[in-house]
């Protein structure tokens, strides 16, 4: 039986470190691809968000609202307050009177919605 000749280059057998480096080298393209893909995704997302926001801004209808007219409220400051300026009962009455004032101003004394219906009472079949 012929003996098997082992043709191995024992000097070139990679060490453990060399093996690890080789694996790393093999995985590098995957990392690069994942990195590029992730980066693109982030850029696309950012672009979509940016465009989406801008679109919203473009389509939003600008409602014309009248500029609020400032109502000048003349408040006479009490320069010399009496001991009753902070009296709880007085302040309560002041608040109630203020509310009553608003109610008096906004009261509907016409009730125009309740005006009698307009009815056509004349029925005739003569020319």
């Amino acid at each position: 039986m012929p003996t098997e000749i082992l043709n191995q280059d024992f000097e070139n057998i990679p060490t453990e470190e060399e093996e690890k480096a080789q694996v790393k080298r093999a995985k590098r393209p995957i990392f690069i691809f994942a990195g590029i893909f992730g980066g693109l995704l982030v850029i696309l997302l950012a672009a979509a968000i940016f465009l989406g926001l801008n679109q919203g801004k473009n389509t939003a209808q600008i409602k014309s609202t009248p500029t609020p007219t400032p109502i000048p409220e003349i408040k006479e400051e009490i320069t010399a307050p009496s001991p009753y300026a902070t009296d709880e009962a007085v302040l309560k009455m002041e608040e109630e009177i203020k509310n009553l004032d608003q109610e008096l101003t906004s009261a509907d004394l016409k009730e125009s919605g309740l005006n009698p219906p307009v009815l056509e009472m004349k029925i005739k079949f003569e020319k």
Binding site: V90, T105, L114, P116, P117, M121
Partner: protein
């Protein structure tokens, strides 16, 4: 315990839904008013249909046009009854929801309004027996005559509603005057502030309340004088309404005096 949970949830759901159903069925002024508006629109439509069929009948004098005219006139008259009935009901609900109308006044109004509503309900039912156009014309005349007196009740009810509002405001102001009088009495007893000016303004406020009451009484007098023979009842009502606005102006003035009283109380001598 877990066994009863579905049953409990079911009963809770049933209870809540029945509650909301009852609430939805609640009859108030808003609902009565919407009913009235719906009926009024229906009446306007049936009136225009009546006018069209009437014109067709007067032009062609055919049996078909006569039948159509009869049908549309009947519908229009029924809708007219329904509009007035719904309007009176809305007024009744408004009077019920207005604070400031005394119970006696409310009861009298309810009685009068209910009687009117009954008349229009019966009239609507009686229309079913009308067989000819002449019957319908006679029925239309009946409503027109009745509406003369109904109009008086309408304007008086509207006046009572507006007066009720005024009375409510006046009562509130009167309460505030009493409260301020009490406070001024307290301050006077302590003697740490002069109250003479505040008391004078309080008197002025009371004066305005009296004047407001007088104007309200004058408005009620105007409304009480409306007769069924008056051709322009709305004119009297507008006059009464204007008088009530004057009454309201006095109430506003009274409130301004109260504000001044408070300002005076808060300021040192």
């Amino acid at each position: 315990m877990k066994r009863y949970l579905p049953a409990f949830i079911f009963f809770l759901f049933f209870f809540l839904s029945s509650f909301s159903f009852i609430k939805a069925q609640e009859f108030n002024f808003s609902r009565a008013y919407n009913d009235y508006l719906f009926n009024y629109n229906q009446y306007r439509q049936s009136y225009s249909e009546y006018v069209a069929t009437r014109e067709a009948y007067l032009s062609y004098q055919t049996l078909t046009s006569k039948t159509q005219a009869l049908e549309k006139t009947l519908k229009m008259l029924k809708d007219e009854d329904e509009v007035i009935r719904n309007y009176l009901t809305a007024l009744r609900m408004k009077a019920a929801e207005t604070t400031g109308i005394s119970n006696d006044e409310q009861n009298i109004l309810y009685l009068k309004l209910d009687n009117e509503v009954l008349w229009y309900t019966q009239h609507k039912e009686s229309l079913n027996s009308a067989a000819t156009l002449e019957d319908l014309v006679a029925s239309g005349k009946k409503i027109a005559e009745k509406y003369q007196t109904t109009e008086i009740l309408i304007y008086q009810t509207l006046g009572t509603i507006l007066s009720g509002k005024e009375t409510n405001f006046r009562n509130q102001l009167s309460d505030k005057i009493q409260q301020l009088k009490g406070k001024l009495g307290e301050i006077r007893q302590r003697g740490d502030k002069d109250t003479s000016l505040s008391e004078r303004w309080l008197l002025e406020a009371e004066n305005r309340l009296t004047r407001s009451q007088e104007k309200q009484f004058a408005a009620q007098q105007i409304l009480a004088k409306i007769k069924s023979s008056d051709t322009n009842k709305s004119k009297s009502y507008n006059q009464a309404q204007f008088t009530l606005e004057e009454s309201h102006q006095y109430l506003k003035e009274a409130n301004s005096y109260l504000k001044e009283v408070l300002r005076e109380i808060k300021s040192a001598d």
